[in-house]
């Protein structure tokens, strides 16, 4: 296959399958190639290629001034990234695991998120913090947290999470080009998921949700690691005669009200699915927004299928914690189907 043919696959050619890890690697490589101010650094991202191999080969290709290992200190990684961005570079840093990003929390919330405002827009910090997050890989303690709500709660940050290899590429490219700091949450159990797709970021914006599967009875709102589970649940529900629409949020902050409310106003029922603990979790914000904006269209309370309010369980028990197809289908059954009053909905 020639290089030109690879770029523009014709209708008869098979689009190659890529994993999310490969797509992210390609996004970093393309950004490093196109923009000489882009730097990639963190723990073990150099010769090792990261513990998930997302930066595989980048140090060898771009040199150790642009892709490099740092001392082991997450606050140091983010704090120095802030300084580098102040001086005109675009750092893309990796936190090795979700819970190991917490030492950087002060730098993220007190400086990265606020410096633009503090300087009336004079200092922009185009920093991307890549964080592998969530469970489902049999990880031990502190390796499986879903920490999205901490970041989404912080004004000044954008929070993005891809669920497919194609989005992983497009959203990471957009995040690197974005003038705002972006918390880029990578669902680690989807790193090896495959998709036949052409990697391209033109036309994808950083702040829009997408309908992954159209449906008419219920809107499932998922993101990152739970999108696949939601799609499986929609397949299973179809066999039972229920049509589930599945939305992939992609951007957790800002929130795409337009896409989500349009769907829920049509279906009248909504379930938010996430791995993170339910209490004060991201789903609470989604449910609140839907009750504010879709109240007269709702046939049932907005339900949450979420992790329990417990520290993330050990490998042998995580299956009980993670949202499953069955748990989603059970929630669908609880959406007050017998109480539907068609006359009420007619106004919508």
């Amino acid at each position: 296959m020639t290089a030109i043919a690879e770029r523009s696959p014709g209708p008869l050619m098979t689009t190659p399958e890529v994993t999310m890890a490969t797509a992210l690697n390609q996004a970093l490589a393309d950004a490093l190639t196109e923009d000489e101010t882009v730097l990639v650094f963190g723990e073990d991202v150099g010769p090792l290629g990261g513990v998930f191999r997302v930066t595989d080969g980048l140090a060898a290709r771009f040199g150790d001034t642009r892709v490099f290992d740092t001392p082991l200190a997450e606050s140091g990684i983010v704090g120095t990234a802030i300084g580098m961005a102040m001086n005109g570079l675009r750092p893309v840093v990796e936190m090795q695991f979700d819970a190991f990003a917490y030492p950087a929390f002060e730098q993220i919330t007190s400086h990265l998120a606020k410096l633009r405002n503090r300087t009336r827009g004079r200092v922009a910090l185009p920093v991307v913090i890549r964080i592998p997050y969530g469970g489902g890989i049999g990880g031990v303690e502190h390796h499986c947290d879903s920490s999205e709500a901490y970041y989404a709660h912080t004004p000044g940050l954008r929070v993005v999470t891809p669920a497919t290899p194609g989005d992983a590429y497009a959203l990471l490219r957009q995040a690197i080009e974005c003038p705002d700091p972006v918390i880029f949450l990578e669902p680690k159990r989807r790193y090896w998921s495959k998709q036949a797709t052409v990697l391209d970021h033109v036309g994808t914006t950083l702040d829009r949700a997408i309908v992954r599967r159209p449906g008419s009875d219920v809107t499932l709102i998922a993101y990152g690691g739970t999108l696949g589970t939601a799609l499986e649940a929609a397949d299973a529900a179809e066999e039972e005669g229920r049509s589930l629409e599945v939305i992939d949020l992609r951007s957790l902050s800002p929130f795409d009200d337009e896409t989500v409310t349009a769907s829920v106003r049509r279906t009248g029922r909504a379930i938010v699915v996430h791995e993170a603990s339910r209490f004060c979790g991201y789903g609470a914000e989604v449910a609140a927004r839907l009750s504010e904006q879709c109240f007269h269209y709702l046939e049932a309370p907005v339900l949450r299928v979420a992790g329990f309010d417990i520290p993330y369980p050990p490998p042998h028990l995580e299956e009980y914690h993670l949202p499953s197809v069955d748990r989603i289908l059970d929630a669908v059954d609880r959406l007050q189907w017998q109480e539907t009053r068609p006359a009420v909905k007619a106004g919508g």
């Binding site: 490099f68 300084g83 007190s110």
Partner: protein, 385 residues
């Protein structure tokens, strides 16, 4: 390899053998001094006495800095500033460090270093924006290469390392000087910053003003190290202990550290021994944790009197020149008073404008919500009355 990044350094991350023996990283036993408390020149093997012009500039800027500081304290008592952390007594350190910087260097100040920021040339009224109760730092950090004054402790040490490392990658001749206090040396970010700077050989000057107290907590409860400068050796960072009330010594030490950073020598840690004459802020009561005898002892070692005695003894300064300088400082203080006494025109809508590069739909909506609230209040005769 890109033309911008990496052309000027062979490796940003390789640990370069420093070629320094451990004892070369240690500070001297006694603080480095060039002018003693009585204004007499002290011969030094480590520091060179600054030239006459530099000494006169130090004296001049210290006079202006002190008057600025006492004016700001007075404005706080009058309610014109929300709060002001004074650096009175620390003028030699504040001014000496800043005058040693070149225009292309960066300064990373803390909330106590307002006189250092003003000394760098920024408009004092802009610099006081935050302390007057505004929501932003007032000045453009790029204009004089001065970062916003940092309120959290030690976090700015890492920003300085980042700016310096980026400068090195871009081939810029830029050194970053970060100011921190004795208390901030206990924070984890100071540890990370010294370590990152050393490993990356980043051109950074860590300028610690040891003024004896972290609010109320004395140094003895902060560290068990022989001195804060002794912390450098653990990171492979050369360190100096300097008399922080000796402007000549501070200036010479920082000049040396800047030159070393610019020549590829990496970071330097400087501990300047000084004393905070005022309480932590106007909201603090220093009599609860220190005695007047201690304060009096430090007043007798006043940094401004010291350099003035030295300059007069050497015939570089006379009483009429001092009087003229003090009149100049008084005029600046009067201008500052007048400008700060004018109220800031606040537009609440500004709070929503710079959170993101482009306003999000939520912020747009919230801004409208607040505007509507304000408009309704303005139309309400009850509220207006």
């Amino acid at each position: 390899m890109s033309p911008l990044i990496g052309a000027h350094v062979t490796s940003a991350t390789r640990v370069v053998p420093r070629g320094r023996k451990p004892q070369e990283l240690l500070p001297t036993g006694a603080p480095l001094t060039l002018v003693d408390a009585d204004g007499r020149a002290v011969p030094s093997a480590d520091l060179a006495m600054p030239g006459d012009e530099a000494l006169l500039a130090l004296h001049r800027k210290m006079v202006l800095a002190r008057r600025f500081d006492t004016q700001a304290t007075a404005l706080t008592r009058q309610g014109r500033l929300a709060v002001y952390p004074s650096a009175r007594g620390q003028e030699a350190s504040e001014v000496g460090a800043v005058l040693a910087l070149r225009p292309q260097d960066w300064l990373f100040p803390t909330y106590r270093d307002t006189m250092a920021v003003v000394c760098r040339g920024l408009d004092p009224v802009e610099v006081l924006s935050l302390l007057r109760g505004d929501w932003h730092c007032g000045y453009d950090p790029y204009e004089y290469r001065v970062a916003p004054q940092c309120t959290p402790l030690a976090t700015n040490t890492l920003h300085a390392v980042g700016v310096a490392h980026a400068a090195k990658l871009k081939g810029e001749d830029t050194v970053a000087l970060v100011m921190l206090g004795d208390g901030a040396t206990s924070e984890g970010d100071t540890h990370a910053a010294l370590n990152f700077a050393a490993v990356w050989r980043a051109p950074v000057v860590f300028f610690v003003q040891n003024n004896g107290y972290a609010i109320s907590v004395p140094l003895s409860k902060q560290t068990a190290a022989p001195s804060l400068a002794h912390k450098g050796i653990g990171y492979g960072v050369p360190a100096m202990l300097v008399d922080g009330n000796d402007a000549a010594a501070v200036y010479a030490a920082v000049r040396g550290a800047v030159a070393s950073g610019a020549e590829g020598g990496g970071p330097t840690l400087i501990e300047a021994l000084t004393y905070r004459i005022e309480a932590h802020t106007n909201a603090d009561d220093a009599t609860r944790y220190r005695g007047q005898a201690e304060v009096d002892g430090w007043l007798a070692r006043d940094p401004l009197a010291r350099i003035r005695k030295h300059l007069i003894a050497r015939g570089l300064l006379d009483e009429p020149a001092v009087a003229a300088l003090e009149a100049e400082a008084e005029a600046e203080a009067a201008a500052l008073r007048q400008r700060v006494n004018a109220d800031i025109a606040h537009d609440p809508a500004d709070l929503f404008r710079h959170v993101y590069a482009e306003q999000t739909p939520d912020l747009r909506w919230q801004q409208q919500e607040l505007s509507a609230e304000l408009a309704a209040a303005a139309d309400d005769p009850e509220a207006a009355r």
